[in-house]
């Protein structure tokens, strides 16, 4: 028999909003961006390092999948850290938005303070969620691409036999620990 959860419905909602878990939409966004940022450098490897895609298809495929996993993991960590900071900063702006929205509503229908606070909290969470996702994607992508280009085309430019997997693993480890 499964143990019953000790949290109330409101507490579960709060945990869902402020925990590390991702919604289906957030996961889809993260995997989509991880796929794009993992495959874009393949163009450089094939045209500059002359590692043609047909000849290195298996290597590139495995590298892309591994890279996607680690980058989405980095997105998740980064987003969790950013969300709290952004939520604190957007508090005043969101309050102003909700107050303006309530004032525009029908004058006969009075909105209680509790309902206003709930709306503010919900809207703040929504805004922080969206902004933290966008900023996490930007930060992680920029870091990943900068380190990849620095290592792949400056430091390990002439690494043999193939420069691709070693550099990628190094970059991913750096991002994971950041």
């Amino acid at each position: 028999m499964a143990p019953k959860s000790n949290f109330s419905k409101e507490e579960e909602l709060l945990l869902q909003d402020f925990g590390r878990g991702l919604s289906a939409k957030s996961s889809a966004i993260f995997y989509f961006h991880a796929f794009i940022v993992s495959t874009v450098p393949l163009y450089l490897f094939s045209n500059i390092q002359q590692m043609f895609i047909c000849e290195n298809a298996i290597l590139f495929g495995i590298g892309t999948i591994v890279s996607m996993y680690f980058i989405s993991f980095a997105y998740k960590n980064n987003k969790f850290e950013l969300k709290h900071k952004i939520a604190q900063k957007r508090g005043d702006g969101v309050s102003a938005e909700i107050h303006a929205a309530v004032a525009d509503m029908d004058g006969n229908k009075k909105v209680s303070k509790k309902e206003k606070d709930e709306r503010i909290l919900w809207r703040k969470n929504e805004v922080a969620e969206a902004e933290s996702i966008q900023l996490a994607v930007f930060n992680t992508n920029a870091t990943f691409l900068a380190i990849l280009i620095f290592l792949a085309f400056l430091i390990f430019k002439n690494y043999a036999p193939t420069p691709y997997p070693f550099r990628l693993q190094l970059v991913q480890n750096i991002i994971l620990t950041s």
Binding site: L44, Q50, G93, H99, V127, Q134, F138, N141
Partner: protein, 188 residues
Amino acid sequence: MKCVLCLVALFAFFSNAVIADDTTAKLILIKEVLNDIITEGNDLSVQYSLFNIGDGPATDVELADSDFHESEFELVSGMTSVKWERIGANSNVSHVVVVKPLKASAFNSTSAVVQYVASEGAEPTFGFSDELGELSIISATEYKRLHASHVWEWFLFSVFCIPSLLLPYLLHFTSKSKYNALSAKKKH
């Protein structure tokens, strides 16, 4: 004594006269590759320079180089066997051969040979150029990887990065600006 001295002077005069008429040519052949990098499919220029450091002209000069086989090189311009009727004393000539390597591999370059007549009536003399040793011919792929500027590739890469970098940042910046403006408005 005077008679002996006269005889010695006469002997010295005639021996010098004999030496002054005995002029021979001496050719030095220098073979050099003008390219810094030798690439498969790109022109390779080889220059042959002949210097006559002797006192007399070299005649019936023939230069031959058998390094560039048809199976490995395509002749673009110049000839691998050249003839000059005469190369004067203290003068020089040069000849450039342009070939195109057909394969990327290590290539062992041997000496070119020059045959000439050093003085009138003499037997032909043979001379050899310097050996260039082993030359490395890199493939076109390797050349592009190492030496091409790749400006177009970097430009396209930056365009491909726009969805990954610029779009998320713009979305975040738009939202941030909106709520900062609302916050500032609320404070006033």
